[in-house]
Symmetry: C2
Subunit: 498 residues, 2 copies
């Protein structure tokens, strides 16, 4: 196989993968926005299964690795896109190949069943139902560490699936910093007991909806190159780089959840919309990592839109639509969108405590993978960790160890990306603010200088850079949790302890 033949073969496989991926994404969007007739689920599931399987089968064919090895042998002649393509696909191929075929298939079947069981177990608060599945999942994950191989800690092998280059050493230092600074800060806030006024009322959904174009335009989401849908659980999906769709959910009694979840999805969507076409051809049109993708959504949601500057422009918009806000001032609104307090459910957690929820999971997963703790002890260990870190114990298993779908879906090593990503965002913003007056841009309702910086340094790079390379190139240093800790400390000390 010549270099050109190898490149063409990979390009062709990627093009087919893109076609099948487009189909999967539209099918998913369709189901989420319109629902699926119950009787149609099986036929639809079979089609989705074939489409996903075909993508995998084509990728795992022997000519893929032949092409990769051909190109690895001429590394010096490859451009940036080609090198990144070989790196990303070579690693994915070898990892997938490391898993015995029958083990892989058995695990797919196990997690399909486990997710259905989890739905019921959570509703019934029945850990006994779930325990045998979790045991099999973690048993498989332990073997997966060996199949993948690792240098220092077995958990490193799993982390890399979600967060390229992440490892226990890095995460221990990250969560230590949070434990040292944020856990005591939360305790001080609880002790001070000066919680702000909450936004409580019923907000007409059609009026909520009317706010969205203003909000997505503010964020810089290009509505002519995408769509906004309504679903139960919001997400962002890329059909093509010029058709990146976001979704929102509306609750009459929770105006802020629609606003902030929309901004969150805008962050993901802008990342995708700002990629360049060359990435598509090379199969690199996605975030550098799960964490880097999350860094963008949380940067827009928290650092930009939960700022005081943003509440200054948000308040008049709210007052235009809802009488409820007529007596509110900027300071009350700013405080009310930044309530910080211990809670039980990760996905409902506030900006300050979110990463502490992740810390609970990180510390448990790490020891589950080594066998230091047992699945049978999880409910108690979970509750103890929540008490230790957040100061409260779950009232029910549904609000405790059974709240997340991840383990039943076979995702072990995924949680840390949420927290690390948020921290990447702070590191990026720390650099951005050296050249751009962020508050002025927000108050001016024109954050395009920020987005332009992110496009140049993050979005346009796609998967050509690892998170570490990306941070080094754009901020001049490797990941440093200091910026995140400092940011949280400054913001929440000012809000609660002054």
């Amino acid at each position: 196989m010549t270099k050109q033949q190898a490149l063409n073969l990979l390009y062709e496989k990627i093009q087919v993968g893109n076609a099948l991926g487009l189909a999967s994404s539209i099918i998913h969007w369709d189901a989420a926005t319109l629902g699926v007739p119950e009787k149609s689920l099986a036929d639809r599931g079979a089609a989705i299964g074939w489409i996903g399987g075909e993508s995998f089968r084509r990728f795992m064919a022997l000519d893929t690795i032949e092409a990769i090895e051909t190109l690895e042998a001429v590394k010096g002649e490859l451009n940036n896109y080609e090198s990144a393509m070989i790196y990303v696909f070579g690693k994915a191929y070898r990892k997938a190949k490391a898993i015995p075929q029958e083990e892989f298939e058995a695990f797919q079947a196990l997690t399909a069943e486990a997710q259905a069981v989890w739905e019921t177990a959570r509703k019934k608060c029945d850990y006994d139902m779930m325990q045998p599945y979790y045991e099999k999942v973690f048993d498989y994950q332990r073997r997966l560490c060996d199949w993948y191989g690792y240098e220092n800690h077995p958990y490193d092998a799993l982390l890399d699936d979600y967060e390229r280059g992440a490892n226990v050493e890095m995460l221990d230092s990250f969560f230590s910093a949070l434990r040292e600074k944020i856990v005591p800060l939360l305790k001080d806030i609880i002790a001070k007991d000066n919680q702000p006024k909450e936004i409580k009322g019923l907000f007409d959904i059609s009026k909520q909806r009317e706010l969205m174009p203003w909000l997505t335009d503010f964020a810089g989401y290009d509505r002519t190159r995408g769509k906004v849908g309504e679903v139960e659980h919001p997400f962002c999906t890329t059909i093509t780089l010029d058709d990146v769709r976001i979704t929102t959910m509306y609750h009459e009694d929770n105006l802020m959840s629609a606003l902030f979840s929309t901004i969150h999805e805008c962050g993901h969507a802008i990342y995708q919309q700002n990629m360049n076409a060359e990435l598509v051809k090379h199969g690199l049109a996605d975030g550098s990592s799960m964490g880097v993708h999350e860094s963008q959504s949380r940067l827009y949601e928290n650092m930009i839109c939960r700022s005081k500057a943003f509440t200054e422009i948000l308040l008049p918009k709210l007052q235009e639509k809802f009488d409820y806000f007529k007596d509110w001032d900027v300071d009350s609104l700013y405080r009310s969108v930044n309530i910080a307090r211990p809670s039980l459910i990760r996905i409902e957690a506030d900006e300050l405590t979110y990463s502490l929820h992740v810390m609970v999971r990180y510390e448990l997963e790490k020891k589950l993978v080594t066998g230091e703790i047992k699945v049978s002890d999880l409910p108690k260990l979970w509750a103890d960790k929540y008490e230790e870190i957040l100061g409260i114990r779950p009232d029910t298993l549904a609000n405790g160890v059974l709240q997340d779908v991840h383990w039943s879906a076979g995702y072990v090593g995924y949680f840390p990306s949420y927290a690390v990503g948020t921290a990447y965002g702070s590191q990026l913003m720390n650099t951005i603010k050296k050249s751009i007056d962020i508050n002025a841009a927000i108050k001016n309702a024109d954050i395009s200088p920020i987005t332009k910086w992110l496009k140049e340094n993050v979005h346009s790079k796609g998967q050509t850079l690892s998170p570490d390379e990306l941070l080094k190139q754009s901020t001049g240093e490797s990941f440093n949790p200091k910026y995140y800790v400092d940011y949280l400390e400054e913001k929440f000390r000012n809000l609660y302890l002054k």
Copy 2:
């Protein structure tokens, strides 16, 4: 290859075809209901192209015909589904194989271009733009007749692609019957000049929308096994047999177009919803032919919903929503939804004249295929035919020879299905009325006995029967245009000439 291996191979290919078909259908639905960002068209088109091509490539592989031949050799051992599968797929395979690969590909490229040119040519009323494309299309179609082969008339080879078993002999006799009875009937109606009052006004679209659940429920469309969308050009699409979707378009100034096009699509959808799962596995879950599918949509639209019985139950519903109808009576409404008069545009034609528009196209296509007439003479020949059959000449080319997309898309032999299908419907209804009181069922707003008959005799059969077999089994005789001509004569003589 054993019999069982051959069956399994075909089942597997059909399952993959179904998966790819589901993806194509959802992608099409998504584009039609939501629109596609212009910049995304190319990437989306590439994906659609690959999906459709893959289906075709897998079907055309050598093992397909090996499996078909294996099963043809043991015909006597096959059940009904298996026999029909071998017949349908064997014929499709051999027809596709008969076309030289490079000719097929060149024609795909030609029609892709021709359709885009047609959009412009129609807008500009510029036949010179279109003529070279039509020449190439008909030139290809003439060669296609030879590749396919035929016994009597070359056009027969093309007709069979759309209407299994249709041929010039049958269509000549069908259109002769129309020419003999319906052309003079239309002349009499024009001469009598007692056109009914037209429905003219602006009808709030949200109120139009409110009527639809009542209407689709009346028709028997199962909304729990489908969806209703809004588009510019209504269609019905099958995602799975339990997710059959219809679409409607609304115009403030044209209430009736929304109502009747919805019923029309319901007719298609009910056909699909009433098929059985065994058909899916055998790749036979579609109409017996294009014409039989159209027979169902037009039967619901015209024979059921343009009946006097239906206007009796429609009028109170309209009066509930729109003041406009407060002084209308059943007779006026019945007459106003049955306006019959010559017109220029096929897709806007009324029940009486619709098949006359098709006759124009049939007579021209037949002679274009043999070379008796030339593409360059079409604008004049078209106008002459309209004058001869409908009594009017097109005012513009857009309202004349350039009105249909079919020829630019390469569909030659398609038009007759529209008319023949409508006539099948009359033949079916003629049998139904022997055992069911159709008017009573409609007035009672419960047409389930009619639908049950259609399900048993038409819908549940899918592609296991040819149109002719289907008519013989359900009505006791082959296609006979008499029922259609009699139905039109009786209905429109009563309306206009009494």
